[in-house]
């Protein structure tokens, strides 16, 4: 009887999990299918899931109209550059908060995180003016800096929670063995927190890749990443759904592949501390 109940609930939970996964994945599947339709089929009142005339025309049109690989390269530089720069700043910051705590550490952490609650448009004008004055508008360097600053609170918070999981005694032992602070961080802390650091890096690459406020406002033609590439196919006056879908697929496929290959690392890191 107990086994029957357990089997039943297993089936229900499995079905529920598949149902929810299907709901989450369906818009991506729909975008993918639309990217292979003609514009007329994309807006059809009786849309077909698979039975339509498959075409690659949208992809060839998009590639002919836009410098996809420039946008792609800009996205790579901005997301990886900002994540690495962020790690360089966040690791020592999180170390000091985790192991050299003062009574204000918690407040400081909360304050850092609270900057994420501010709508970005609130600081648009000062940042834009600074970028103008330092000639950073439409440069990859400018975007790397701004993406680092945008994601830094999350990086520090994540690393802080990972570092808190590491026993103090191990670090104390390394100090007693004569390690400097640098050696302690590099030779003891980092190897122990590697899964957490890897997931922080990956998550920030994804966040920076998908960021579509600063990347749209602060770039024009030279540093525009894939978010700007997608935005160039949206239109309130004219039907470009199939081309927009093709552009979207081309923009999300690289990050989906990265997520697919690193999912083990990502899940391991996330369950290591931050979201536990």
């Amino acid at each position: 009887m107990a086994t029957n109940n357990s089997n039943k609930s297993k089936i229900i939970y499995t079905a529920l999990a598949w149902g929810i996964s299907g709901m989450i994945f369906f818009p991506i599947l729909w975008t993918l299918l639309t990217s292979f339709k003609t514009e007329a089929e994309a807006i059809s009142a009786n849309p077909s899931l698979f039975m339509f005339d498959w075409t690659l025309e949208n992809y060839s049109d998009v590639l002919a109209r836009s410098p996809y690989f420039n946008h792609f390269w800009n996205s790579v530089v901005i997301s990886i550059g900002s994540s690495l720069l962020g790690l360089i700043i966040a690791i020592p910051a999180a170390w000091s908060m985790a192991f050299v705590q003062t009574k204000r550490t918690k407040h400081l952490l909360m304050w850092m995180l609270s900057t994420k609650m501010l709508p970005p448009v609130g600081v648009l004008i000062p940042i834009y003016l600074m970028f103008r004055d330092f000639s950073l508008l439409d440069t990859k360097l400018g975007l790397v800096i701004v993406m680092t600053l945008v994601n830094l609170p999350i990086m520090v918070w994540m690393l802080y929670t990972y570092f808190r999981e590491i026993p103090h005694e191990i670090l104390e032992a390394s100090r007693m063995d004569g390690c400097s602070i640098g050696e302690e961080i590099f030779h003891v802390l980092l190897p122990l927190a590697l899964p957490g650091i890897a997931s922080t890096l990956l998550l920030n690459v994804i966040l920076a890749w998908n960021e579509a406020f600063w990347t749209l406002i602060l770039t024009a033609a030279n540093a525009a990443p894939l978010t700007a590439f997608i935005a160039s196919y949206s239109s309130p006056e004219g039907l470009f759904y199939a081309k927009l879908s093709a552009a979207s697929v081309m923009a999300i496929v690289p990050i989906l592949i990265l997520g697919w290959f690193s999912q083990k690392q990502l899940v391991r890191g996330l369950s290591f501390g931050a979201v536990k």
Binding site: I125, L129, P236, F240
Partner: protein, 435 residues
Amino acid sequence: MLNKLTMLTCVALGFSATVIAETITIATVNNGDMITMKELSSDFEKKNPDIDLQWVTLEENILRQRVTTDVATKGGQYDVMTIGTYEVPIWGKQGWLTELDDLGEEYDEEDLLPAIRSGLSVNDKLYAAPFYGESSMVMYRKDLIEKAGLEMPTKPSWEFIRKAAKAMTDSDAGVYGICLRGKAGWGENIALITAMSNSFGARWFDENWKPQFNTPQWKDTLQYYVDIMTESGPAGASSNGFNENLALFQTGKCGMWIDATVAGAFVTNKKDSEVADKVGFAMAPDMGLGKRGNWLWAWTLAVPSSSEKSAAAMKFISWATSKEYLALVAKEKGWANVPPGTRTSLYANPEYLNAAPFAEITLASIESVDPKNPTVQPVPYVGVQFVAIPEFQGIGTAVGQQFAAALTGQMTVEQALASSQRLVERAMRKARYPK
């Protein structure tokens, strides 16, 4: 030896030519006409080897946000900006745009349609050149109206439209008598309803900038809109903008659609439209008060005052908005694909009139509006379907939300108007009108 010297000189000259080539950055919207301009711009580069073009194409609302930030902070990221008739008078007055006083001797400025030109001038100085212009009109299914036993007049009244919408509705076949914009936004439902309200004798403000939503004319306008959409409109109309209605019309789900004249080319395009050969056109309706319910809009090219390459930018604008460009598009893409609504000479061209069955209605619609006197009563503002003040984007969208709520039945017409009156009064007080 001489050959080597000649070669070296050529290389040096070529190198110096490359070095001095000026790159101008053009920010533009994603639509068919702009994409064609980008495709054909190699013609400009061939004629002007000293100018390189760099393109930034964006969705309309993102573009607006981006160019507004840039022009207001004098960021200087763009040398040519695509802006609408809403921005030009405001930005021109602010000194954010360079006067277009050097478009070249061959640029026939007098040929620009007077209504469009007037909307782009401040103190009689031209601050933007129109790339394409549009008004709004009735697009209808000739087969369905015939089946309903009616005949569409060239200049219908709102009363006739309501009667026709009812007669053309066939719920079993999924055909709705009328499709109108319902999505909330200053460029969405507000564009349509403001243009409608002009023909009902309503206005946004009186001469002292006092909001007028508490007047009977506004009550009549909104009540008519809600009633006709409830009787004969599609389900979920409060989510429908231009694209959604275009998709409905092209797939045969709408009997009538009142929207931008630029849609004429889309609904008659056999490649995308299932009803391409069944579409008729008529002027936007009226109430017999001397104003029709059509709007006026143009996408224009302007040079921000922060651009350091204004001479090259003006050269490009002169090329892109010239008669020669229209001829180039006709040669490469056909007359039906020429950007409409900017030049008088285009509407005297029999080849164009032959290729575009909506051309005459478009011209008549554009000519029938006056952005400086948009309504029956006098107003202190410029703009037909908008009020050209910086506050309008905010208040227009807020009022649009009230009207969308009336359409879905979340509010009554009276409640939506009272709420609109309150919020616009508050916004105008805050902005210290009258100025």
